[in-house]
C-alpha cells in the first residue's frame, strides 16, 4: 500500500503510456491487415502464403523482435523509444486480424452469396450488405485477440525506452524488488482482462441481432 502511494503518479503515467503504445500500433496494424484480409479472401493461394508469413512473424520471440527493431531502426536514429515498440506490436497484430478477416469473409455460406447474386445484388452490394455484416463478429474477435496480445507484449516496450507497465517489472527485477515486479505483473494482467471484457461487449454490440438468436 505504502508502495502504491509512493508510486501513484508513476503508475498512472506508465499505464497511460502502455495504452498509448497500443492505441497507436493497433490502428496502424488495422490499416494494413483488414484490407489485406479483404484482398486475399477470394485468392486462396495468396491467402495461404500471406497467412504463413504473418504466422512466422508471430513465432519470433517478443524479446527478440524488439531487439531486431532496435538494431534495424538504429541507423535512422529511431532505435529507442516509441517507434520500435509500435512497429513490433503492429507486426504481432497482423496475423490475428488478417487471418480472422480472411476467415470471416470466407465463412459466409456460398448459398447466401449465390442467392444475393441471383436476386440482382451487385458485387459491391453483396460485400456491404451481406459479407461484411456476416463476418464482422469474426473480424472483431481477431481485433480483440490482437489487442489483448498487444497488452502483454507491450510489457517489453520499457526495454527499448518506450515506457509502459513493463517498467515496474524490469526495474523490479534489476533491484530485486518483488513488490515492484508484482505490481507490474498484476497491472498488466488486470489491464488485459479489462480490455478483453470491454472488447467482448463491443463485439456483442456490432454483431447483427439476427445472428445472436438462439433457437
Amino acid at each position: 500500500m505504502e508502495f502504491l502511494g509512493y508510486y501513484q503518479g508513476i503508475i498512472l503515467k506508465e499505464l497511460l503510456r502502455h495504452l498509448e503504445i497500443i492505441a497507436i500500433s493497433i490502428p496502424i496494424s488495422l490499416i494494413v491487415s483488414v484490407p489485406l484480409g479483404f484482398y486475399i479472401s477470394p485468392r486462396p493461394k495468396l491467402a495461404k502464403f500471406v497467412i504463413y508469413i504473418t504466422s512466422i512473424l508471430m513465432t519470433i520471440p517478443s524479446l527478440a523482435l524488439f531487439g531486431f527493431m532496435v538494431i534495424l531502426l538504429a541507423p535512422f536514429n529511431l532505435g529507442l523509444g516509441m517507434v520500435p515498440a509500435i512497429i513490433a506490436i503492429a507486426l504481432y497484430s497482423l496475423l490475428p486480424i488478417t487471418r480472422n478477416t480472411y476467415i470471416g469473409l470466407n465463412q459466409v455460406p456460398q448459398g447466401m452469396i449465390e442467392a444475393a447474386k441471383g436476386m440482382g445484388m451487385s458485387s459491391k452490394q453483396i460485400l456491404w450488405k451481406i459479407k461484411i455484416p456476416l463476418s464482422i463478429p469474426v473480424i472483431m474477435a481477431g481485433i480483440r485477440n490482437a489487442i489483448v496480445l498487444g497488452v502483454s507484449v507491450a510489457t517489453f516496450a520499457s526495454l527499448v525506452a518506450a515506457g509502459g507497465l513493463g517498467f515496474f517489472i524490469f526495474a523490479g527485477i534489476g533491484r530485486s524488488n518483488l513488490k515492484m515486479v508484482l505490481v507490474g505483473a498484476i497491472l498488466v494482467s488486470a489491464l488485459g482482462i479489462g480490455v478483453n471484457y470491454f472488447l467482448l461487449t463491443v463485439e456483442d454490440w456490432v454483431t447483427p441481432k439476427g445472428l445472436k438468436i438462439k433457437r
Binding site: 442467392a115 447474386k117 441471383g118 436476386m119 445484388m121 456476416l134 439476427g210 433457437r215
Partner: protein
C-alpha cells in the same frame, strides 16, 4: 416466353449442357428433371446469367439475355435455391423487401407488398419482424418463396426449393405452392430430381440426361408415352398408380350432401340437425369458414342410444393434393369421406372414396 436455342455450356473439357433447345411457355410451371450432374441446374442458372453459356442463345420475351445487364436481368427474375439463402441478419420483412429495395421502391409500397406476400404464403403478419433463425424449415421455405415474389417478377427460377424439407411438410408446401401459382400464374422453371414432385407440380416436364433434352411434354403424355428406356426407368414402377397423381383432389370436390355447423351451435342442436338430414357427420367451421372440428353420430354400444362425438383436429385433404395422396390419407385414417380445405384451411367441400375408385376403374 423463354427460348433456349441450341445452348451449349462447357466447364473445361466437360460438356454440361449440350446443344439444348427448349421453349418455356408463359404462365406454365416447367419442371427440369434428371439425374444429378445432368445439367438441369446449369440450364436454369444460364437463364439469369449466373452461368454464361458458350454457344447458342437464350431469349426472354424475344430479346437475347446477353443484351440485358445481368444485374437488371436478375432483379426481374425471382430466384430460390435449395438452401433458400435467407439472410440471417435481415428480418423476414427485410428479406422479402430485398429486391423491391434494390429497385428503390418507396417504403410505403414495400410495406404493402410485404404484407400482401406474407398473406399469400400463409404466414402471420407477426413473422415480419422475426429472424430466419427463429423459423422452422417450412416457414423459411415460405419466406423464400415470398422473397422471390418480392418485386412481382414475371419469371421464377426455383432450384429444388423443397429439397431439404421432410416428406410430410414437403407435400404441404407443394400444395400451397400449387394454389399460389393458380393465383399468380408466373412462368416458373423448377429444377427437381424427384419424379413424383415433377408429375404433381408440372404443367410441362423437361427430362434431361447428359446435358441433352430427352423428352419435353406434359406429365400425362410422358406417363402414357415415355420416349425411351431412360424415361421409363425414371418414371419407375406403377405407372398406372402414378397416373392418379395427375388428378387433383380439387377436381373431385362435392359441393353438396354434407352438413356444416358453426362453432356456436350446441351439441343438441347439431344432433337434431344431423338426424333431420339423415347424415352422421357435421363439419365445424368458424366465421371465416375455417375447418376447426368435426362432429359425428355413433350408436352407443351399451344401449341403442345415439351419441355425439367431437374431434378438434379432423383428418382432411387439401384441394391440391393429388388423388393418390388423398387416397392414402383415406386409407390411413379409415375414413370414406374427407373434408377438403385450401392452404388457409378454409373448407371448400368434401371428397368421397367411391369417387376415387370410380376414377381408378376408368
Amino acid at each position: 416466353m423463354i427460348e433456349l436455342i441450341n445452348v451449349t455450356k462447357r466447364f473445361g473439357e466437360k460438356v454440361a449442357v449440350n446443344n439444348l433447345s427448349l421453349n418455356i411457355e408463359k404462365g406454365k410451371l416447367t419442371m427440369l428433371i434428371g439425374p444429378s450432374g445432368c445439367g438441369k441446374t446449369t440450364t436454369m442458372r444460364m437463364i439469369n446469367r449466373l452461368t454464361q453459356y458458350n454457344k447458342g442463345d437464350i431469349k426472354l420475351n424475344g430479346v437475347s439475355i446477353n443484351k440485358i445487364d445481368p444485374v437488371k436481368l436478375r432483379r426481374s427474375i425471382g430466384y430460390v435455391i435449395q438452401e433458400i439463402g435467407l439472410f440471417p441478419h435481415f428480418t423476414v420483412y427485410d428479406n422479402i423487401a430485398t429486391v423491391p429495395r434494390l429497385l428503390k421502391w418507396d417504403e410505403k409500397k414495400i410495406k404493402k407488398r410485404v404484407e400482401e406476400l406474407l398473406d399469400i404464403v400463409t404466414l402471420d403478419i407477426n413473422f415480419a419482424y422475426k429472424y430466419p433463425l427463429q423459423l422452422s424449415g417450412g416457414e423459411r421455405q415460405r419466406v423464400g418463396l415470398a422473397r422471390c415474389l418480392g418485386a412481382d417478377p414475371e419469371v421464377l427460377l426455383m432450384d429444388e426449393p423443397f429439397g431439404a424439407i421432410d416428406p410430410i411438410n414437403r407435400l404441404k408446401l407443394q400444395d400451397s405452392f400449387l394454389e399460389i401459382q393458380e393465383e399468380i400464374k408466373k412462368t416458373i422453371v423448377f429444377v427437381t430430381h424427384d419424379i413424383n414432385e415433377a408429375i404433381k407440380l408440372g404443367d410441362k416436364i423437361a427430362i434431361i440426361k447428359d446435358g441433352s433434352l430427352v423428352q419435353y411434354d406434359d406429365p400425362a403424355e410422358i406417363l402414357a408415352n415415355p420416349a425411351n428406356k431412360f424415361v421409363e426407368k425414371l418414371l419407375g414402377q406403377e405407372r398406372s398408380i402414378k397416373a392418379l397423381s395427375l388428378k387433383k383432389t380439387k377436381d373431385f370436390i362435392l359441393k353438396d350432401n354434407f352438413v356444416t355447423v358453426s362453432d356456436e351451435e350446441t351439441e343438441r342442436e347439431i344432433t337434431k340437425k344431423l338426424q333431420e338430414k339423415k347424415a352422421n357427420i357435421a363439419f365445424v367451421l368458424d366465421k371465416d369458414n375455417k375447418l376447426i372440428g368435426r362432429y359425428w353420430l355413433e350408436k352407443s354400444k351399451k344401449n341403442e342410444q345415439v351419441e355425439i362425438n367431437f374431434d378438434d383436429s379432423p383428418v382432411f385433404a387439401e384441394r391440391n393434393n393429388t388423388l393418390s395422396e388423398t387416397l392414402s390419407t383415406m386409407l390411413g385414417s379409415g375414413e370414406k369421406l374427407l373434408p377438403v380445405v385450401n392452404r388457409k384451411k378454409i373448407f371448400v367441400g368434401i371428397i368421397k372414396l367411391n369417387n376415387i375408385f370410380e376414377e381408378v376403374n376408368k
